[in-house]
């Protein structure tokens, strides 16, 4: 019986300090009439203790479970990313200057769909529209089944400054049974400078406050 092992003796020592009911086993192996419980360290000595082989098997099981759960999490994250971040959106931002910001975008999962795009300058929202401009080069390059996938925004009046502005265009796409709309960047952001001119006379430094949305 495990009660002879150092482990059992140590646990047995712990046990004596607790007031919880104790299991006692008679010489014949039968429980005493008034005994209640087999839980507690004494019980574990006898019933929850592990043999060397059992410990090894349990360790292997735990390692296998950990690996399975890791793979499950990786698969879950990959599937979630693929389904909800729409990796089939294709497009580029071709032009960004003080007059216009333009490019094209196609959702290969729905090639006929006109993708909704949003323009941000220096992180400030400027405008939103459907990408339906005529872009025969996109059709010719075989990136779409029709030529109506371009977008062109008129650059809003911006104050002249030495530093560059950064234009970013994001394609809107729906997630999770159309419950959430997400934004995915189209191509790479482009930088441009704005010179002083008639268009930006009197434009405030916080120009985005004057935009009408």
């Amino acid at each position: 019986m495990a009660s002879d092992t150092p482990e059992a003796r140590r646990r047995g020592g712990d046990l004596e300090t607790h007031a919880s009911p104790r299991l006692s086993v008679s010489a014949s192996g039968e429980k005493d009439a008034n005994q209640e419980s087999r839980v507690g360290p004494a019980a574990h000595d006898e019933k929850s203790s592990l043999t060397a082989r059992g410990g090894e098997r349990l360790s292997k099981f735990l390692i296998g479970k950990s690996i399975t759960e890791t793979l499950f999490l990786v698969a879950l994250v990959s599937a979630f990313s693929y389904a909800h971040f729409n990796p089939r959106l294709r497009g580029t931002l071709d032009v960004a200057n003080e007059r216009e910001v333009s490019g094209w975008v196609v959702d290969e999962a729905g090639p006929d769909k006109r993708v909704e795009v949003e323009l941000y300058i220096d992180g400030h929202f400027v405008a939103r529209r459907r990408a339906g401009e005529w872009r025969p080069d996109v059709l010719a390059a075989g990136r779409a089944v029709s030529a109506n996938h371009g977008f062109a925004f008129e650059t809003p009046p911006l104050p002249a400054r030495e530093a560059e502005y950064e234009a970013s265009v994001f394609a809107a796409h729906e997630w999770i049974d159309k419950q959430i709309t997400g934004l995915r960047i189209v191509g790479k952001p482009l930088r441009f400078k704005v010179q002083a001119g008639a268009k930006n006379v009197g434009v405030r430094e916080d120009w985005w406050e004057d935009l009408e949305h």
């Binding site: 140590r10 607790h18 019933k47 929850s48 999770i176």
Partner: protein, 249 residues
């Protein structure tokens, strides 16, 4: 030495070697190793529950059915562990011989808990205890089946597995009771009031299990106290008892 006696000696040596291997396989593992394994088992079940609550349930739509994977892995572990450790269903608490005694341990604690919950709802939230009506009434309808079954499932994992493994680590007493309650509370985050309630309930149930291991009595107590909680606290405080990622949705 004759050829025959040499053969006999070899045979004896082989038998002894086999017995040594067998006895080393059957020998109990060291206390430290046993503690480490028990802690690992507890951590593993917690990880499965957290994956279910925070990752699988976060995948809305089809993804929520993936919940079955971590849940199945957790139950596979608990069942395999019981088998390897030689624990019987009776020892785990699936028994009726001590049911009445377990009820006697639990009833005063439940009554005290019920009064405290009613006072908590009244003083903190200004809510009135509603025996029928609202969600409490709806819960009352499912209490006999869903409430008890769900309670049995949770109490099985919490007591027959976490509590017993905590006792391997710390022995019976307040340390293992506290660890069990902390695990129970952790799995109810980030719902703040439910976390407080489950920590308190976890202490009571873990103590009661160590006194009298009966999972049926604990399941009844779990279902009854859930109903008391719903009746005592306003729905806004409990957020439909949601936990994990679903708490935000």
């Amino acid at each position: 030495m004759s050829e025959r006696s040499v053969e006999l000696s070899r045979g004896d040596a082989d038998d002894n070697a086999s017995r040594d291997v067998a006895s080393s396989d059957e020998a109990a593992i060291s206390f430290e190793r046993s503690r480490s394994l028990a802690l690992w088992e507890i951590a593993s079940v917690i990880v499965s529950a957290l994956i279910a609550e925070w990752a699988a349930l976060a995948s809305l739509g089809f993804g929520k059915y993936l919940l079955v994977v971590p849940v199945a892995l957790a139950f596979a572990l608990t069942i395999y562990s019981h088998r390897v450790r030689g624990e019987t269903a009776r020892e785990l608490g699936f028994r009726f011989d001590n049911f009445a005694r377990a009820c006697r341990v639990l009833l005063p604690l439940m009554l005290a808990g019920g009064v405290l919950l009613a006072l908590w709802g009244r003083i903190w939230f200004g809510a009135r205890f509603r025996i029928g009506g609202g969600r409490a009434e709806a819960y009352w309808l499912v209490f006999p089946l869903w409430g008890v079954a769900w309670g049995l499932l949770q109490q099985y994992v919490l007591q027959a597995f976490v509590n017993r493994r905590a006792q391997v680590v710390f022995g019976a007493g307040w340390k293992s009771v506290l660890l069990t309650a902390l695990v129970f509370a952790l799995l109810h985050l980030p719902n703040p009031w439910l976390t407080v309630a489950t920590f308190t309930g976890g202490l009571v149930w873990a103590y009661a299990y160590q006194r009298t291991p009966n999972l049926y009595a604990l399941a009844l107590s779990h279902a009854a106290m859930t109903w008391v909680l719903i009746a005592a606290l306003p729905a806004s405080a409990l957020n439909s008892l949601r936990v994990g990622f679903k708490y935000f949705g």
